[in-house]
């Protein structure tokens, strides 16, 4: 690892266990800023990372925030999110703009928001 952060257990074995060794199939839909919202509460026996995500996302929470909260790489987080999405436990609000160039109206909204800071 280029930059080991203290307290981070990022051994490949653990990551493998978390995701059942699966690759990224189905998880690419989750952008870094896709907002995730829980649709149900954690249930007993659930994988602890899944339960943590459901608790974290009672209000909309971006994929990067989930990753930072779990202390896991984004790629692993995406897989965990895909699991929950497949079973309807979370919903995903993907970024609206599929831009090459952003939409004029969005830019106006961003400007207003920034000026109000």
């Amino acid at each position: 690892m280029s930059r080991g952060r203290p307290g981070r257990d990022d051994s490949p074995d653990r990551l493998y266990t978390l995701t059942g060794g699966r690759s990224r199939a189905g998880s690419d839909a989750f952008d870094l800023v896709t907002l995730v919202v829980s649709e149900s509460d954690p249930v007993a026996g659930m994988q602890s990372e899944h339960a943590a995500i459901l608790r974290m996302c009672r209000f909309p929470t971006a994929v990067v925030e989930v990753a930072a909260g779990l202390g896991l790489p984004v790629s692993i987080t995406r897989i965990l999110l895909a699991d929950l999405h497949d079973t309807g436990r979370i919903s995903a609000r993907h970024p609206r703009a599929s831009y090459r160039l952003p939409d004029h109206d969005i830019l106006e909204q961003v400007l207003v928001g920034l000026r109000n800071l």
């Binding site: 280029s2 971006a62 160039l101 961003v110 400007l111 920034l114 800071l117």
Partner: protein
């Protein structure tokens, strides 16, 4: 906005549904995290992205073992713009060896701020090259570390900056100054978008 000011907000509005991205890129220690912190409503958080690549020059038959994982750490902050839009700011290292992750990390970004220290302008050459190549609109922000003053013309020349790319001066420690950097980027984006839009056809005069 409710009684909670944006600076104190920890959770987003339940109506938030559109995440937007701006990348702050630059050399080591140029003030990326400082700028993100200055405008963010949350303490900047840190996370990482891993990328597995087939190892170079390694025999294919080795399979999985031939893959190498590269990890890049980045930090981010957040600004609630309104009930729907949330802007995420990403601080990303600009060094060449990290940039293969760029597409993956920052696809769909609105634009970029290239943060430079005028004492180390060459540190930003690679980032600027990549952004130009990628067609991502950007502004260059000179962070004031108290080095010798350079004129904008000198900096533009040293960076070989196109005339239309805005060059601004900032102090990343100042919220107001950092906010102005972001505003200059979004105003630039507006210009870029307006220029790219096809001019509407004039409604033809009815022929008698």
């Amino acid at each position: 906005m409710d009684s909670v000011t944006s600076e104190q907000r920890q959770t987003l509005h339940s109506t938030a549904d559109n995440g937007l991205k701006i990348v702050v890129v630059g050399g080591f220690g140029v003030g990326k995290t400082t700028l993100v912190r200055s405008v963010s409503e949350i303490r900047p958080l840190n996370t990482e992205e891993t990328m597995t690549q087939a190892g170079e020059g390694v025999d294919d038959t080795v399979g999985v073992a031939a893959k190498t994982a590269t990890t890049v750490a980045f930090d981010f902050g957040r600004i609630t713009l309104d009930a729907h839009n949330v802007l995420y700011l990403f601080g990303a290292p600009g060094q060449e060896r990290f940039w293969f992750l760029w597409d993956r990390l920052f696809s769909g970004t609105l634009g970029a701020v290239v943060l430079v220290d005028t004492r180390r302008l060459a540190d930003s050459w690679y980032a600027i090259d990549r952004l130009e190549h990628h067609g991502t609109p950007f502004v260059v922000a000179c962070n004031d570390f108290g080095g010798p003053a350079h004129t904008p013309a000198q900096i533009r020349e040293a960076l070989d900056l196109a005339d239309e790319v805005p060059l601004v001066f900032c102090d990343a420690r100042s919220r107001e100054s950092s906010k102005q950097v972001l505003i200059s980027l979004v105003e630039h984006l507006r210009t870029v978008v307006a220029a790219a839009r096809p001019t509407p056809h004039p409604i033809p005069e009815p022929t008698p």
